[in-house]
Amino acid sequence: MTENRKLRIGFIPLADAAALIVAVDRGFAREEGLDVELVREVSWSNVRDKLNIGMFDAAHLLAPVAIASNMGIGHVHVPIIAPFNLGLNGNAITVTSALYEALRGHAEGDMADPKVTAKALAKIVLERRQKGLPLLKFGMTFPFSTHNYQLRFWMASAGVDPDEDVQMVVLPPPFMVESIKNGHVDAFCVGAPWNSVAVELGIAHILHFVSEILQRAAEKVLAMRVTWAAENRDALHALVRAHKKAADFIENEVNRDEVSRILSAPDRLNVAPEITRRTLDGRLKVSPGGDYRESDRYLMVGRRGAARPDRVQASWLYAQMVRWGQAPLAKELLLAARETFRPDIYDQVLGAGDLPPEQEPKDGIGAFDGPEFDPLDLEKHLSGWSIRRR
């Protein structure tokens, strides 16, 4: 290769942009003949729009935004593909200390069990209604986001209707902590490092890792326009290879300190390296008092087949859009949702395989509530829920 191919890629400063940031800053992209300029953005709307109009060649994007864009739901119809999954899980639900105490007061069982906390929430919601208190407010990052669906899935399991019994509000991640501090919201669901930042300030508790709600949920993807992919096949393949190298590098514990340092840089996440380190280790301080919770599922960047786009997860995300009234149920839309994820490109570039190991949940999702997910029969999946918009 004579001259490096120049690319502009947008990202939001979050720990789940790790594979992209490490691919660029650790030199894996350069090894593949790519000269990548990373552009830090302040909103998902900006990332989406700049990707759509071609100001970005590729982007770190919410998986549901990529799917919605490809289906033409909620915004404009721009065909988008995701040949690499930047991460599974990685979000957490954080509540104010006051709500945490109330939940604990009502909990019948282990507070780490989402069934227990959802039931406790249902009781609090009822009490508040009887007392004429305002609805509890839950912050999440975007209408088309796993955060939105994870919160809804959790509370609806105990009969709390996310559109009637609480108020769901969109908040940009950097405003989450401030919003819980000034009482604007009672809880939020967001990716790292913001949950840890709130706990560190002594004003909130991490209630759940989202991996306790769903064991495998596609979180952010590496997204690009279909037309770009068709016209830039070599660059696309080089990008996928560089990301795979980066994901493997991140998952090797020997490299944790270096990865934390790379991610924490001022022009990347701009947080203390130890906070990034906690995220990568999946060992988070969950209470101001200093309790820790650990999970090997907290944020999975490449391990256990996390990097290979899984169409089961695309189906699940589309099912949530239907359940909550964001999209109609239609065969063509299900097809478009599934085809956003491109495991075929991943396999073509990296060789077939890289499937989740056997001990992973059989249905590819592993939800804490409800029957196994059937990615091809959404009608059945949806009819199983009493709280839904359709």
Partner: protein, 203 residues
């Protein structure tokens, strides 16, 4: 004539909200819109209860700067939600990707009440683009003026050092600086800065 007059009347009736944390820029935009005959222009700042404040105004058009993270908050208004009186759509004319690109380039994004005819607000978007561009031109010029002033100060200090240490006239000191800059293919201000640094070190 009657139809034109009524059109002008109805357009000046559009309620426009500007969400921008730069008060100077939003003032420039508001002025532009008022000059074009829009009387209902409301500027909104800050993040607290942003959505509630916008609902209370019930605008026809929302203009927001792209550097504002609150843009994602507005996306909630697309959704069919009980809280929304009138759903909002992004101003996107898919046939006109050049105008979207121009808006993104200028750093402004616009949302309109669903159902509002796109051609009725095209000129609002055009005004936003040109005012945003004007603002960034002014900011760049201001920055340039500022740094030119800074450079002037640095060069004056370096000249002073040279005059004192080498007993030169002001003109000779400047000539020396310029010659060094040419030799090293650097800016005079850079050479001046290194003289100041060296002088500090050798104190």
């Amino acid at each position: 004539m009657i139809s034109l007059a009524s059109q002008v009347f109805s357009e000046s009736n559009l309620k426009i909200v500007i969400v921008d944390d730069s008060p100077v820029r939003s003032a420039i935009l508001e002025e532009g819109l008022r000059e074009a005959g829009h009387r209902h222009v409301i500027r909104v700042e800050g993040t607290d209860n942003l959505l509630e404040r916008i609902y209370a105004i019930d605008p026809d058009v929302i203009l927001i700067d792209l550097a504002n993270p609150s843009r994602d908050v507005l996306e909630q208004m697309f959704r069919v939600s009980r809280a929304v009186k009138r759903p909002i759509a992004m101003f996107v004319d898919q046939s006109d990707s050049a105008s979207i690109a121009a808006a993104v380039d200028a750093g402004v994004s616009s949302y309109i009440v669903d159902g509002l005819k796109k051609d009725r607000i095209k000129h609002i978007l055009d005004i936003s683009i040109s005012r945003f561009n004007a603002f960034s031109r002014i900011s760049t010029e201001l920055e340039q003026t500022k740094s030119a002033l800074e450079e002037r100060k640095v060069i004056d200090r370096a000249k002073g050092i040279l005059m004192k240490r080498k007993s030169l006239s002001e003109e000779e000191a400047y000539t020396l600086l310029r010659a060094a800059a040419q030799n090293e293919k650097k800016k005079i201000a850079e050479i001046a800065q290194s003289i100041i640094t060296a002088a500090e070190l050798l104190k």
